[in-house]
């Protein structure tokens, strides 16, 4: 749909991820490493789950459309479960790494806390997941045409970009919450994260009502955002402290 749509959708989908990267990750090389390793773990999980799906597709009758749709849904849910397994695996890896990092750092503690690692790992998962959701669609948005000649909605590109935005943020929040749950051995937290991820995947399968999946997805994102805020050490007290500090600064200047 031309260059305007390409840049618009790219900014919508990757704007927050870019902002987060620039302001919180780019300066610290350790965080960059954890980000990229997280992205790689997500990539591995996608590769394995897509292999399973591919084999299932090849082994089945390609003419039976309901079977193909069923296999796709199965593939999506299997992929979600595998992503969470790999998130857990990454958590274990990072836990092991903290001891080594503590040994080589100058201070008496680790250079990076588990909470920060959780955030960075989640963001890594989110960026890679967003890239895989969006890049193909972005390249098609460069051409002169828009979706719709077969009856689909013409708002496909914008909807896809907004879903990708939500997905990136959700992965970040899930990372924080998940690692916190693992630290405190609160297995119900992990179950909640997995089921919300499954719910998100199920909502994205709601074609052709694709726009209809946006409000619930953003509601989930907001909820997860609040949960992650509280889970990573924030509180209403700190929020009010923020406001009063700013008020005080405003008054004093």
């Amino acid at each position: 749909m031309t260059l305007a749509v390409f840049f618009g959708c790219a900014f919508i989908a990757f704007g927050p991820a870019f902002a987060l990267f620039v302001f919180t990750i780019a300066r610290d090389p350790l965080r960059v490493i954890i980000l990229i390793a997280g992205a790689f773990f997500w990539l591995l999980s996608l590769l394995l789950s897509s292999l399973v799906w591919f084999i299932a597709i090849k082994a089945s009758n390609s003419q039976d459309l309901t079977l193909q749709k069923g296999l796709l849904i199965f593939g999506v849910f299997f992929s979600v479960l595998l992503q969470e397994v790999f998130r857990f695996a990454y958590y274990r890896l990072l836990r092991k790494a903290t001891e080594g990092l503590a040994a080589i750092s100058d201070d008496d503690g680790s250079a990076i806390s588990v909470r920060q690692m959780a955030y960075v790992a989640g963001l890594g998962f989110g960026i890679m997941s967003g890239a895989f959701s969006m890049i193909n669609i972005l390249s098609d948005s460069l051409g002169p045409g828009t979706v719709g000649i077969f009856g689909d909605s013409q708002y496909y590109f914008i909807t896809a970009a907004l879903m990708t935005l939500a997905l990136t943020l959700l992965h970040t929040f899930w990372g924080v919450v998940f690692f916190e749950g693992c630290e405190k051995s609160q297995w119900w937290v992990i179950a909640a994260v997995v089921s919300l991820h499954l719910l998100f995947a199920g909502l994205s399968l709601l074609n052709p009502l694709y726009e209809g999946s946006l409000p619930p997805v953003y509601f989930i994102t907001l909820t997860m955002g609040i949960w992650a805020f509280f889970s990573s050490g924030g509180s209403l007290h700190s929020l009010s402290a923020l406001c009063t500090r700013r008020k005080a600064e405003g008054e004093s200047s």
């Binding site: 305007a4 965080r31 990076i112 806390s113 909470r115 193909n136 002169p144």
Partner: protein, 712 residues
């Protein structure tokens, strides 16, 4: 155990690689939701000559436009002035494909391309995109020769011509020949682009994109100069245009030794000629039924009728049958043959030529008489005049007893566009052109896509199988057979043959029927397959024998497209079948009979053909020996490197990378800008928010056991 693990990992790696490769090959599924590729389209391409470029051109990345079907005059106003969504891609109904509509669209900036629906419904009574005076600058008439007859002063040969083929359009023009595809386009238009109660349609709108970017520009001189520069200095030279070229087909009643060039001693030759090619507005579409096929069939049937008699009772003069390729483009084939004769580079030269009989358009006779056209300027010479009058007398006596009559136009008139004109440029040669029209052409669809079987009035009764249609003698076939008999008898008399043998010379209507079926209805039939080499008849993408009638556009010849053009091949092998003898050579001997003493490669050509299909549907290939030859049909301008020549044809065809068409929906500009605006807003907002939060992070995320570090 270890080896098992090793094997398993190898298999996993293989599976991985196949998985990756498979994803690369498939096209994106989102792209499939957006675009509908139109595969059955025919483009109009750019042709160049010494001074001009004609045809159509698109931009490098295709031309896009909102679809609009032009069915009424108000649609034309909508497209050209009042429609709110320019530029438009016009779907032209057949009735509106005429000069006035096309020129108005050419001069408008609101038209980005045209797709013409080719169908018989709504077809005008006449349509000829050729010029009114074909080949007027390369014929024989000029200021120095018959100036009062030049430029169709006395007779306009193609008065219905609108000259569209020779216009230069700045946008792509495609032809839609497939009815199902046209229906898809119409449905998209009706669903999205129709005007409701006179108000403009709403976005998203159906649009079409046409790609036909041509590499050559301006004229042949420029194009050749750029190609030469690239060849000399470029690392990866690209050819921009190619000269139109192919082969002429010739044979003779007495075999001529091709190893001796120049003047042939004691040979006096009567040339019987016709043209092999046609053209239309679109690329490689030229059914040319009345314009070309009528002449080809007549001459082939005449060859078949004459051949046994010329072997039994050979006439004193040799009869030289030739089929000229490229005559539509300023006489490419005939000018090359005359040039070779002048340079002593051909088996005979102009001094060997006694007279010439050319077969023009002879299909639309409708029971009336045929006309013998002659050149009045050369007839001012007494010898030439005497010979021409003799020729006409011989023709009249040959026509006696046949269902055909011949007459000569009573007033001074030029020759119609014909290869004889190129021979007259080189010398005074007595000649006649046989045609079914006295003044202008009877052909209302001259050099257009509609000059097909229907124009030639070839109709078969219903419920005939293809094999039955192949041999069914239609009225058109019978009429052409009579003309062929007349031509054969006149040629025999002209070559000095005896009157007594004349009654043995009759064209076979069955052969004519088979030729007619092969050339205007369906070339993939059992008879033609039996005449062609075995590898040609194999099914495949590059097979010569695709479905439908053959197209007579000259094309670019063996330099670019591989084997010889299909029509040239057909005529060559048909002539071999009609005049050749079967030999018992093996395939290897047939390819190269130089070792055999009984065979003579200088006098004959050897063809390995499939042979007739026997009862148990298998065919035995066999070797046919015939004196049928090909001679190059490239304009002498390209040999002499005179790309701006005024004397010879300088036509070239541009090269291109991709020609395709697709339809899709386009969204409004407002939606696009809204998307961009939202995107920029989201980016700025997230940058601000992140900066704010990260600067206040200590405050926001403080907790007891989390030591703030310096690594923020």
């Amino acid at each position: 155990m270890r080896k098992m693990g090793y094997l398993i990992s190898i298999n996993c790696v293989k599976l991985l690689i196949t998985a990756l490769l498979y994803t690369c090959v498939c096209s994106s599924s989102v792209e499939q939701k957006i675009y509908v590729e139109l595969n059955q389209t025919v483009p109009c391409v750019r042709l160049l000559n010494a001074t001009h470029q004609i045809g159509c051109q698109s931009s490098m990345s295709g031309d896009t436009g909102v679809l609009h079907v032009l069915e009424t005059e108000s649609d034309l106003d909508w497209i050209l002035s009042s429609g709110p969504h320019p530029p438009y891609m016009v779907i032209l109904e057949t009735a509106f494909f005429n000069r006035s509509v096309m020129m108005r669209m050419k001069n408008s900036s609101r038209v980005s391309g045209v797709a013409v629906i080719i169908s018989k419904t709504g077809l005008a009574h006449d349509f000829s995109p050729h010029t009114t005076c074909p080949n007027q600058n390369t014929g024989v008439y000029s200021e120095r020769y018959g100036s009062d007859l030049a430029n169709c002063n006395v007779t306009v040969w193609n008065p219905l011509g609108n000259g569209l083929s020779y216009e230069d359009f700045p946008f792509p023009v495609f032809a839609l020949k497939d009815e199902n595809q046209t229906q898809v386009i119409r449905k998209c238009y009706e669903d999205h682009n129709q005007r409701v109660n006179g108000s403009a349609p709403q976005y998203p709108l159906c649009a079409m994109q046409l790609f036909s970017h041509m590499h050559a520009a301006t004229d042949t001189v420029t194009c050749m100069r750029r190609t030469d520069l690239q060849n000399r200095f470029g690392i990866n030279p690209e050819v921009l245009c190619d000269p139109l070229s192919d082969f002429n087909v010739w044979t003779s009643s007495r075999a001529l030794n091709i190893s001796s060039k120049g003047h042939a001693v004691n040979e006096s030759v009567v040339i019987a000629a016709t043209r092999l090619d046609g053209r239309s507005f679109f690329w490689e579409q030229a059914p040319a039924a009345e314009g070309t096929v009528s002449g080809i069939i007549t001459l082939l049937a005449a060859v078949h009728a004459l051949y046994p008699v010329t072997q039994e009772a050979p006439p004193p003069r040799n009869i030289f049958f030739t089929f000229f390729q490229g005559e539509a483009f300023d006489y490419i084939g005939s000018s090359k043959m005359v040039y070779d004769m002048e340079k002593n580079d051909f088996v005979i030269d102009l001094n060997n030529v006694h007279s010439m009989l050319e077969i023009g358009q002879v299909g639309l006779r409708s029971g009336r008489s045929l006309w013998m056209h002659s050149d009045p300027v050369s007839r001012k010479n007494d010898d030439v005049n005497a010979e021409v009058l003799e020729m006409m007398t011989r023709m009249r006596s040959a026509a006696a007893g046949l269902n055909v009559s011949v007459a000569h136009p009573s007033f001074t008139q030029a020759l119609p566009p014909s290869s004889l004109q190129r021979f007259l440029r080189a010398g005074l040669i007595p000649g006649l052109v046989l045609a079914d029209h006295q003044t202008s052409f009877n052909n209302r669809y001259y050099e257009s896509m509609y000059d097909d079987a229907e124009n030639l009035q070839v109709t078969y009764p219903p419920d005939l199988s293809p094999d039955e249609q192949l041999v069914y003698e239609t009225d058109a076939a019978k009429s052409l057979a009579e003309v062929a008999t007349l031509v054969a008898r006149s040629l025999y008399l002209q070559a000095g043959g005896e009157n007594s043998s004349l009654s043995n010379i009759t064209a076979d209507p069955k052969i004519v029927a088979q030729l007619l079926y092969s050339f205007v209805i369906q070339k993939n039939n059992s008879w033609l397959r039996s005449l062609l080499p075995p590898e040609v008849t194999k099914k495949g993408v590059n097979s010569l024998l695709s479905s439908g009638p053959p197209q007579f556009y000259i094309g670019l010849g063996p330099r670019v497209h591989g084997p010889v053009h299909s029509v040239t091949r057909f005529v060559q092998y048909i002539l071999a079948n009609l005049t050749g003898t079967v030999t018992n050579l093996t395939e290897n001997q047939c390819q190269d009979p130089s070792e055999l003493s009984s065979e003579n490669k200088d006098l004959f050509s050897y063809f390995w053909v499939s042979g007739p299909v026997s009862v148990n549907s298998s065919s035995e290939p066999l070797c046919v020996r015939a004196s049928v030859r090909l001679s190059e049909a490239v304009s002498p301008a390209f040999e002499l490197l005179e790309y701006g020549s005024r004397d010879y044809s300088t036509w070239t065809e541009s090269r291109w990378k991709s020609i395709r068409a697709r339809i899709f929906l386009v969204a409004s500009r407002e939606l696009e800008m809204l998307t961009l605006g939202v995107g920029v807003a989201v980016l700025l907002l997230s940058l601000l928010a992140t900066y704010f939060i990260s600067s206040k992070a200590e405050l926001l995320f403080s907790s007891a056991h989390d030591t703030p570090t310096t690594a923020y």
